[in-house]
Amino acid sequence: MSWRVVRRTTSVFLALLRQEVQMIAQYRWWLLAMQASVVLVPLISLLVWRGAIAHGARPPVTTEYLTTYLVLVSVVTMLTSSWTARFLADSIRLGQLNAWLVRPCSTHLASAANNVSEKLAKIATLLPLVVALAIAFHSDLELPTNPIRWLLFCWTLALGAIMVFSFDFVVGTLAFWWDDVTAVDRFRQLITLFLSGALIPLSVLPAAWGPFLAVQPFGYAVNFPIQTLLSQDAASIRDGLAVQAAWALAALVAARLTWTRGLRRYSGAGA
C-alpha cells in the first residue's frame, strides 16, 4: 500500500468520523439511554452476586475480583462490541450497497468510522457512570498500578474489538447467500453474551469447561482483556495473547474471504 493510499484512506476515515460524530450529536438522548442500559446488566449481576455472597454463597473467586470484574465489564463490552451485521445485511439485501460500491473508497471504512465514532461518544457518557459505580463499591475494588498491565489491557481491547468487528462483518456478509441473517445474528449475540464473560465471569463456570473456554473466541472479547488486569497467572496471559492474536487474524481472513466471494454474487437489487 503506497503512502498516497494511506493518506487518502486516513483523510476519508477522518471525514467519515466527523460526519458520524455530527450525526450522533443530533441523537443525544438515545446515547444516554443506551449507556444507562449498558451499565444496568453488570450492575444487576453485581448486586445479585454480592447478595448471594452475603447469604453464604462461596464462588470460586474473591468478592474483590468479582466486584472489579463487573465494574470493568460494561466498559470492555462496549469498547469491543460491534453492530455492523444487521446494517450490512440490509444494505446487501436491499441494494443500498450500490451507493458505496461506485465510490473510490473502501466500503468498510464507513462501518469502521461508525463503530469508532459511536465508541468515542459512548465512552464519554459511560465513564461517569462507571466512575459512580467504582466509587459506590470502592472498598472491594482492586485495580493494578503496573503500567505494563494497562498497556496489555489496551492491546487486548484493540485486538478484541478487531476480532468482534470482523466476525460481525462475516455474519453480515452471509446476506450475499441468504435472504435473512437475523437468526444467525441473534444466535451469535446470545452465544457471545454467555461465552464472552459479559454476563458472568468465565472463572465462575465449572472447572471442567476450562479447556474449551480457553480456546473459544468469544472470551477474548471481554473476559481476557479484564484478565490482563486481574489475573496473577503470567503463563495463562501469555498463552491468551497468542490465542487472541490467532483468532483476530482468523476473523480478518474470514471477513475478507466472505466479502470477496460474496461480491461476486451481489445483484444490487433495485436501481
Binding site: R8, A15, Q19, Q22, N98, L101, V102, R103, C105, A271
Partner: protein
Amino acid sequence: MPSPSHESSPVIAAHNLSRSYEFFRQPTGLSGALCSLVHREPTRVQAVDGLDLTVESGEVIGLLGPNGAGKTTIVKMMCGLLRPTSGSLSVCGYRPADRSYQFLSRISVIFGQKAMLWWDVSTRESLRIHCSMYEIPPADFAATVAQLGELLGITDILDTPVRNLSLGQRMRCELALALLHRPILLFADEPSIGLDVEAKLVVRRLFREVNQALGTTIVLTSHDMDDVEALTDRIVIVTGGRATFDGSLGALRARTGLPNEARLDEVMAKAFHHDGDRA
C-alpha cells in the same frame, strides 16, 4: 482529479456481454411454501444476452427499453456493481468489475431512486467527504462547490440536513455531489425524478453544459421522454437483454413509421413493442 479525455479509444466497449441471475423460484400457496422447505426449484434468468455496444468520448446516449429489458443490469455492469457472466467490457479503459481507484474516480453515478448523499448531515458535509475520496485540492473544491451551488440554485440549502430537503432539492444536491469530481463518464438513472418543471430544465441545461464544456460522456436511462429528447444524440433500445436499435431519434421515428409530430412516448411504445416481438 482526473480530467475528461478526448482520446480516440471508446469510453465504453462491450462485446458479446452477457449476465444471468440465478435464484430459487417462489412457489405459490401454502402447500407450495411447505414443499419448498424440502425441495427448491432453481431458476436462471438471462438479463443481458450478447450485447455489443461502443460509446465514444463525449457522446450522450439514452439507454432505453421496457421494464425488465436489462438496461439497469447493463448499467450496473458498466459501473462495476455486477460481474458479467461472459463477454468483455471495458469502461474508460478499465475492467469495471475490478473496481480500481482509477476507474471509480473517473465515473459518477446518479441513482434517481437511491441517495448518494448522507441522510443525517448537510450536503456540504457529503461534498467534503467526496473531496477527501477523490483527492480534490481545497482551492478547486471551494471553487467547484460555489459554481455548482450557483448553477443548481442550492447555495442556500448546502448547510441544511439532507433529510430536511424536499425531493427536488435533494436531487439537485445529488447532482452537485455526482459532478464535484468532474467525471469522464456519468451514468444517470432517472436523474429528473421528482423534480419540478423548472428544476428539470436546470438539470437538462446542466447536463448539456457538462457534456459540451467538459466533454463528459453521459449514459442516460430514463422513462421521461422529454429528458431523452432534450439530451440524447443517440438512442440504444434494449429488449430481451440485447440492443435492438442503435441510432438517432430521427432514425427511430422513421423506423416506427409514425409521423414527425407524433409524441416521443408513442414512438418509444411502438419501438418497444416492435423490438419485443422480434426479440
